[in-house]
Amino acid sequence: MREFDYFEMRIPSKTQYVGVARLTVSGLASRLGFSYDDIEDLKIATSEAVTNAIQHAYVEDEEKQEVVVGCAVYEDKLEIMVADYGRSFEFEEVKEKVGPYHEETEVEFIREGGLGLFLIESLMDEVKVLNENGVTVFMTKYVSREQVNAHVETDVH
């Protein structure tokens, strides 16, 4: 038997579906026994990845505009893959340009965007980005051991 269950969504590249993607991931995470905070982290990371795919990757040909969200559900972790087939970007280069805000930044220079990747890296346990025929973000979050135990106990009582 395969060690994980696989879910896949193909989402039209429109912002109104970002919420649907994160709620689906939230449902899967809830079944795995993730804590409330971890589920909220997964919702944000998923939204950020899907939003990035929608906003940056596509340039033309509306018909082909869709984002694929794949979820591998393991016993103790959730792997989420978000792929688009649009324009690639240099992840390392982008990563260097983004990051948390600093108190000493002059007001007029405070960025209004570009925090998506930073948040994904902050909220997930592992993040990998593949840059071939579009961008694919792989991100993993583990169910913490205490959570698994707590979940099992809840089932017993």
Binding site: R22, I54, P100, G113
Partner: protein, 106 residues
């Protein structure tokens, strides 16, 4: 997954914006439009109540930052109130709570 924004001028001439719902890539443009339409020149204090915000990601952060810059440019100050522990965490992780004055929900 809708967003409502209720903006009113208080008796002390400060502006209070009450935001409820989810702020993501779909709703953020609407929020941006409504916040940036506020005449921040006529007041020196703006307050955004986020107690009713159940979800926010970096798109919401971007809008808040844009509004903050607008308020500051007009010589005012901005306070965010009613932050849930989740929102507070988001503002802490992004470093924004070191820049904008935030207050957690009571």
């Amino acid at each position: 997954m809708d967003l409502t924004v209720n903006i009113k001028t208080q008796q002390d001439n400060s502006i209070l914006g009450v935001i409820s719902g989810e702020i993501d890539a779909h709703t953020a443009p609407k929020l941006r439009e409504q916040l940036l339409a506020i005449d921040t020149k006529s007041t020196n204090k703006a307050v955004l109540d986020l107690a009713g915000v159940g979800y926010m990601d970096s798109t919401g952060i971007g809008v808040i930052v844009a509004f903050y810059k607008s308020v500051i440019a007009d010589g005012g100050e901005l306070t965010l109130i009613g932050l849930s522990p989740r929102l507070k965490r988001l503002f802490d992780i992004t470093g924004l709570s070191g820049i904008i004055h935030v207050e957690e929900e009571a």
